[in-house]
């Protein structure tokens, strides 16, 4: 049972978020978004739009709808648990200055 092909316009092309790895050893970084009908074309378009000057060695594309983001309005309570644990940072500890390699 196949449905009749829809006469879809560009409006229906989903949005993809684009992540580019600048060079080996670095992480992928979000660089922008684009519209494409599927993942293959999203990748090709991302190459043409975001890496025309060798800005990347690897690209990820992710459907924008598939990204779950933390809510900016709950930012305070969401990140709160980390706020009072300064002992997680090395600078928290008092150690004598003349100890080497510490």
């Amino acid at each position: 049972m196949t449905e009749a092909p829809e006469r879809a316009t560009e409006r229906s092309w989903p949005l993809w978020e684009v992540f580019v790895r600048g060079k080996r050893g670095l992480s992928h970084v979000h660089v922008g978004s684009l519209h494409a009908p599927d993942a293959t074309l999203a990748l090709r378009n991302a190459r043409d739009v975001y890496t025309r000057r060798q800005e990347g060695v690897s690209i990820w594309v992710v459907r924008a709808d598939d990204v779950t983001a933390s809510s900016p309005t709950e930012k305070d309570s969401f990140f709160d648990p980390a706020a009072d644990k300064i002992y997680r940072h090395p600078t928290f500890y008092d150690v004598p200055e003349d100890v080497e390699y510490l």
């Binding site: 092909p5 829809e6 879809a8 316009t9 560009e10 922008g32 599927d38 074309l41 739009v49 900016p72």
Partner: protein, 350 residues
């Protein structure tokens, strides 16, 4: 090889190569201190992000400005695209193709930035095609000779960079970030334009005349690109400058950017051996700037209203290209749908 001794590489050729660009690109994020209130963020020179609450007017203003900017990028492909098949060498042809492709890319960055404000790209294209939204008037002038490609790169892209560098610290984050990418890439556009003119000016007499003629035709429209004066009789009625400045969308007045542009271009014209078509152009020691003659604002408004040499041609070409691409978009959709169906069948069979 020619082209290697064009300009002193230590001298900034355009605003994107000066400290102004780095200053604009550097952003000090103080949101943790400032909070999420729109007015507080604007007052503290912070970036507004897509999910922040913002006044409707701010959103509308940005959609209009970013869309107009995006439209200018893609319409701007036409005057130079006109010369791709007739570029004088393979080297020039490859450069021109890369440049026109960049303009398409810049349009895409900007449409993406506009979409973060909650408007669909297709809607923006419709507004362009039916004339509800505008693009920069400069692209309604024709490219009559090869030297026009040089003049566009040197003057038009030069003016565009001058306008765009301050936008790298526009208050709206996605727009500012798009502009950082655009400015970096525009730099090559201006240099290649300068190089075209430089070579023509060192060529035969008729090549020199061609370069001079192109500069004669593009100089005044390039000055008009900064928009009408901010004050005085010729100032636009109901202009957006004041509000846009208060909102940190615009950073400098039109006249200030225009003056900076003139001050930067006069020495470059002298180096090229091109005479800028303005008898009133002279250094003013008192002001520390070049004085220049009056711009024909009647012509500017006439072209903006749709009565320029190429207005109808640009839009009809754009609409036709869009319509003729329909089958490609439909085929891509059909293929994507077929692939998705196959995936589903595979999953349910497994």
């Amino acid at each position: 090889m020619y082209g290697n001794d064009v300009i002193d590489p230590n001298e900034p050729l355009n605003a994107a190569e000066t400290d102004a660009y780095d200053a604009a690109a550097a952003h000090d994020d103080q949101r943790a201190v400032v909070g999420d209130d729109f007015d507080a963020l604007i007052a503290a020179d912070q970036r507004i992000e897509p999910r922040d609450a913002m006044p409707d007017k701010y959103r509308e203003t940005l959609i209009r400005q970013i869309a107009q900017h995006a439209h200018s990028e893609i319409i701007g492909m036409q005057p130079e695209g006109n010369w791709i098949t007739r570029a004088p060498s393979l080297r020039r042809k490859a450069i021109l193709i890369a440049k026109v492709q960049d303009e398409a890319g810049h349009g895409l960055y900007l449409y993406s930035a506009a979409e973060t404000l909650g408007i669909d790209r297709q809607e923006l294209l419709e507004r362009l095609h039916d004339g509800r939204q505008k693009y920069s008037s400069i692209f309604n002038y024709p490219t009559l000779t090869w030297a026009d490609c040089g003049a566009i790169g040197w003057l038009v892209d030069g003016a565009a960079i001058m306008n765009q560098v301050p936008l790298c610290r526009c208050s709206y984050g996605p727009y500012a970030r798009a502009m950082i990418r655009v400015c970096k890439e525009e730099s090559f556009h201006q240099r290649q334009g300068f190089e075209i003119l430089w070579n023509l000016m060192r060529g035969t007499e008729s090549q020199q005349a061609m370069a001079q003629d192109a500069a004669d035709r593009w100089w005044w429209p390039a000055l008009a690109m900064f928009g009408p004066p901010d004050t005085g009789e010729a100032a636009a009625k109901g202009g957006h400058t004041e509000q846009s400045m208060a909102w940190g969308i615009k950073r400098f007045a039109n006249d200030d950017l225009r003056q900076k542009f003139v001050d930067m271009m006069v020495p470059q014209a002298e180096k090229l051996g091109i005479v800028l078509p303005d008898p009133e152009l002279r250094w003013n020691d008192e002001r520390g700037h070049y004085d220049f003659g009056d711009i024909d604002w009647d012509e500017f408004w006439q072209v903006l209203r749709g009565d320029g040499p190429c207005n109808a041609e640009r839009i009809s070409h754009r609409s036709r290209a869009h319509e003729e691409g329909t089958w490609v978009r439909e085929a891509a959709n059909a293929y994507a749908a077929k692939q998705a169906t196959r995936e589903k069948q595979k999953e349910s069979a497994a």
